[in-house]
Every structure is written in structure tokens, then in C-alpha cells.
Amino acid sequence: MSPLEGLAYGFSVALSPENLGAALLGAVLGTLVGVLPGIGPVGAMALLLPLTLHMPPQTALIMLAAIYYGSMYGGSTTSILLNVPGEAASVITTIEGYQLARKGRAGAALAVAAVGSFVAGTLGVIGLMLFAPALSRFALSFGVPEFFSLALLGLLALSRVSGGRFWPGMLVLGLGLALATVGLDPISGQARFTFGVVELQQGIDLVPVVMGLYGIAEVLSVAEQGGGMPRLTGVRLRELFPTLDEWRRSFPAILRGAFLGFLIGLIPGPSTVLSTFVSYNIERRLSRRRAEFGRGAIEGVAGPESANNAATSGAMVPMLSLGIPFSPATAMLLAALLVQGVRPGPLLVREYPAVFWGVIASMYIGNLALLILNLPLVGIWASVLRLPQSVLLTVVLLLTLVGAYSINNSLLDLSVLLAAGVVGYIFRKVQFDPAPMVLALVLGPILENSFRQSLFMSQGSLLIFIQRPISALLIGASAAVLLAPLAWRAVKPTVPAGEQAHG
């Protein structure tokens, strides 16, 4: 099936009433999640995953994917209007967006963010449509050593990039890998770390862990503050349309952001967040009006808001074509397919064309719907913040509890949820990023299986990982991820104390 034939087939799937409804519902929920500070796209996807158990796999993926990319649209609204990022990928938008709002250009900033998100989102989907099948074909030549090296690279890169500090990141990663070994040994069938609890033989389910780390932890954090969250006061949207000059300055930034965001999305790590920081720095360096940065430069909104949307499409490439997620959000998309019995990977395009092409086509529709939802209706979204936080967070708590139980009708899952919630809260307090734990739970079994099978193949020689070219390349990249920051620290010029103080 050529990309155009695939797309035509995908539209026939995506335009069915239930899939269209799922895309629109996901877009609305994603925008809502993006607007509301606190529960981010990963928590929201975990929260809604139990509802998707009753849907066909393509409908489930269409809805959850729409929440993922929809949250990138909504995130800019509160960043611009309130100086409060709705989710992590919109933090950078607060810098220029809020300054523009203070200058009376909130409408222009919101319009540029929405149009930029739409353009980059659509370009990103084109990239996904072209890249993913090609990568799938390439990945058919992968053996178990390559999958081990790829999973290792994904884990190391995320723990290196996400938390900031290396050892805490590795600790969280190691704990996640240890949790992933609970259950039946995939090769010998021996029960491990079950301590006599029969239910644990199935292993620890990803969904309650994610719900706990992101959902319950957020509720506990807000409870600590006594329910205090930002309130919307006196927002007026003057000047709803950007001027010609603002458009002229924004469009190159949007295109650069789209390109950059998609590429960053392909690599392991918190790509949506990372892409906004890289895009912002590039725009600041390229701008002829660098002095305006920090005081309301429209490029500083256009670039990052486009980049985070394109990154969501880029991040779906390895998940769909290799079956390996590189971020917690794509891990949730993978989990949604796995619970339906669909295993993403190189054969997904061939074996489940409705899932693959259906979700791609739905992303074109979803992006268009999001533009309509976010541009003229921005005032409605902003007013969502007037909802009492007490009710909103109690809903989250109750849905998390009931949702976690409903996946396997298991009380063990509820206990896992609560334990993960407490751990997630503590991680927040000490600024440990939980993302490596989530990814380790997903990639841990792949890592162990491929590692042990590779050793079986090589009669115990670790050289198998560097004797095969693709695997060697990936191991080299893993080593670079591990060692490059240490090497940089060793060779970087030291700045004299006096200069540091004045610089």
C-alpha cells in the first residue's frame, strides 16, 4: 500500500462516526487537559484508558492520540493568559506569551500559537506518514540484539535528559526495571518476586502505576497546598488577529519549529518539552530583534508552540513502527494497543492497517478540529479555570480509583495505584522525574528478553551487541549519551569567580 492509498484507506476508517467522535472527544479532552494546570496528557491518558477497553483498537488509539496532541494546543492558553503553563511543554511559552498579553497582544499570541500548532501538527503528520512505514520496513531486518540496543538507548537517553541529575535518574530507572521483573520469567516461566501472591504472576500493570505517579501524586500535591490553584481574573482578549508584521515574523518560526520538533520527537527523551527549549533558543539566536526576547517576541511563541506539536507526531514514529516508545505518553499509547491484543512494531502497517492508517488520517482531522476549537473558542477554554478545583481534583481522584480497579477488576491494581501515588508525590517533593520509571516498566521486558536471547544466540558473548552494525551504532549512541556530559564537564573551560559574578 503506497502512502496515498494508505491515507485514503485511513480516511475511510477515521471518518466512520465512532472514530470521528473519538477524535473529536480526544481533541476536546486534550485541550481541557492542556488548559488545566496539573494533570498532564500522560495522567489523562492513563485516566481514560479503562474507557477504551470497550472500543475497537483503532478507536482507542485515535482518542488517546488526540488527547496527546490536543494537550499541546491547550497548554499555550494558560501560559499566555495567566503566566501558568497548562503542561510542561508550554513552560517556555510563558516567557514571551505572557509579556505579549501584558502588552495587549494576548489575542495575537493565542492565534499564532493555534495556527502554528495546526501547521506544525499537520506537517508532523505528513512526516509520520512518510517516515513510519519506511522505518517499519527497515526494522524488519532487526534481530534481538538490535532491539536490546534500541531499548537501552531509549532508557538511558530519557533518564539522562529528563531529570537533570544523572544518578537520581538512574535510580528511578533501576527501580522501574526491577518492578518490570515481577511476574513470570518470560523464558523459563518461573514466578519471580511474587512472594506468594498469585495475582503478581501477571506482573505489575503499567496503567495503575502511571495513574498513581501522575494522577494521585498531582491530587496529593494540590491537597498539600490546601487546594490553592491559579484563578482567572479579568482577562480581555483585545486585538484578536495578529498584524501583518506579526504573521511575517511568525511563519518562518512556525516552519522551523515544525521541522525541529518532528526531528526531536524521533529521538528518545521528553521530546515535546525539549523541542520547545531548543526552538526558543534558535529563534532567539536567529532573530533580528533579539532585544525583544523576554519582553514579548512573537517568534518566541510561534516556534516553541509549533515544535511541541510536531514532536508529538515524531514521537509516534518509533512507537508505531518499532513498537518501542521513547516517552511516557507514547508508552501509554502502546499500552492502549497492548491491552487490545495489538502489538505495535514493524508488522503493524501490514497486519493492522486500520489502526496505523486510521490514526494517521484521524490526526489530520483532529488538528483541524483543534484549530477550530482553540482559536474562536479560546475564551471558553480560559474560563474552564473558573471551575472549582476542589470538584475537579476530587473527580480526578475518584476516576483514578475506579478506573484502576476497572482494568482487571483487581484490588491489587488499586494497591499498586496508591503506592505509586505516594511514590510519585515523594518524587515531586525531591524533584525526581518519574518518566524513566514508566518507560522502564514498558521497555524492561523487551530489554530482558532481547538481552538473554542475544546471549543464547552468541553462546554468552557480549560481543554480539557490537559485531552487528546497527546494534553497534545504537550501543555507541548509548555510550555517547552516558559519557558525553561527563566528558564535557571535564573539558569545559572554567570561568573565574569574579567573571561569573558579573556575567
Binding site: L53, H54, R165, W167, P168, M170, L171, L173, G174, L177, A178, T181, D185, I187, S188, Q190, R192, F193, F195, I216, V219, L220, V222, A223, E224, Q225, G226, G227, G228, P388, Q389, S390, V391, L393, T394, L397, L398, L399, L401, V402, G403, Y405, S406, N409, L411, L414, S415, L418, G421, V422, I426, K429, V430, Q431, F432, E448, F451, R452, F456, G460
Partner: protein, 151 residues
């Protein structure tokens, strides 16, 4: 919060010791035929090294300013809410969803700042019945009946 990080490191080391001791009970195999304990022992090693390095790193950062921990009243709210959520898990098999979700809903609404009791009762009733309708009726989740025989 520096002390908290050190405590986390020590807890991780303790859990890891239990994990490694348990792993040693499984067949190790050989490098050519790795057994069920082979990979967990490697993972246990990673956890031990990372926990030790985190503790040492935190201990060495002695002169750096530490961030503040939670206020006692805030921590109390967190503990109450976590305990109430745990009560749902304990009560669910005995009294069913409807009764088990009442304490957690009421206490969560109160802690999050809903002060008016009539509003609280109305919202709590709506949320409890709403979640039951969504999951129990529409999605047909089989909640435990409980000793009262209800949903």
C-alpha cells in the same frame, strides 16, 4: 529536602537488598544460558550503584542550600487524603463501590477547599452516583457486591 533524598537512597538500598536476596533463590544459569536470576541480579546492581551514588552526591552537596519541605499542615492533609484513598481499597470488597467511595469523596472535597456542607453533600452524591453509573452501569464493571449486597 536533602535529608529526604538520602532517606530515599537508604530505602532504595534496603529494598534492593531484599530484591537481590530473592533473586539469588532463582537459577542463575551461565552466560551462554542465562537463568531467571541473571538479569534481576544485573538490575539489582544498577539500583545499588545508583542509590549509593545518589546518597554520596547528596551528602557531598552539604554546603548547597536545601529546598524547603512541606508545611506540617500541608503534610497532614496529604496523609489524611492518602489514608482516605487507602480506605476505599480496604472497604471496596466489603461494602461495595457506592459506600466505599463516600468517605474518600467527602474528605477530598473538604480538603481541596469546598467549605459549604450542602454543596459538598450535593457534589459528593453526584460524583459517587455518576462514577457508579459510568463504570458500573455503562461499562459494566463488576464491582464487589459487599456484605450489604449493594453495588
Amino acid at each position: 529536602m536533602r535529608r529526604a533524598v538520602i532517606i530515599i537512597g537508604v530505602c532504595a538500598l534496603t529494598l534492593d537488598a531484599v530484591y537481590l536476596a530473592e533473586a539469588l533463590r532463582y537459577p542463575l544459569g551461565t552466560p551462554a544460558r542465562p537463568g531467571a536470576a541473571f538479569y534481576p541480579l544485573l538490575v539489582g546492581g544498577v539500583v545499588a550503584a545508583s542509590a549509593l551514588a545518589t546518597i554520596i552526591e547528596e551528602y557531598r552537596a552539604g554546603s548547597a542550600p536545601a529546598t524547603a519541605g512541606p508545611e506540617p499542615s500541608g503534610l497532614r492533609r496529604v496523609i489524611i487524603l492518602a489514608a482516605t484513598a487507602a480506605s476505599y481499597v480496604v472497604l471496596l470488597p466489603y461494602v461495595g463501590h457506592l459506600l466505599a467511595s463516600i468517605p474518600v469523596t467527602v474528605i477530598a472535597l473538604r480538603i481541596m477547599g469546598l467549605r459549604s456542607w450542602p454543596a459538598l453533600v450535593l457534589v459528593a452524591a453526584f460524583l459517587v452516583l455518576g462514577t457508579y453509573y459510568l463504570f458500573g452501569v455503562l461499562l459494566m464493571v463488576p464491582f464487589p457486591a459487599g456484605i450489604l449486597g449493594g453495588p
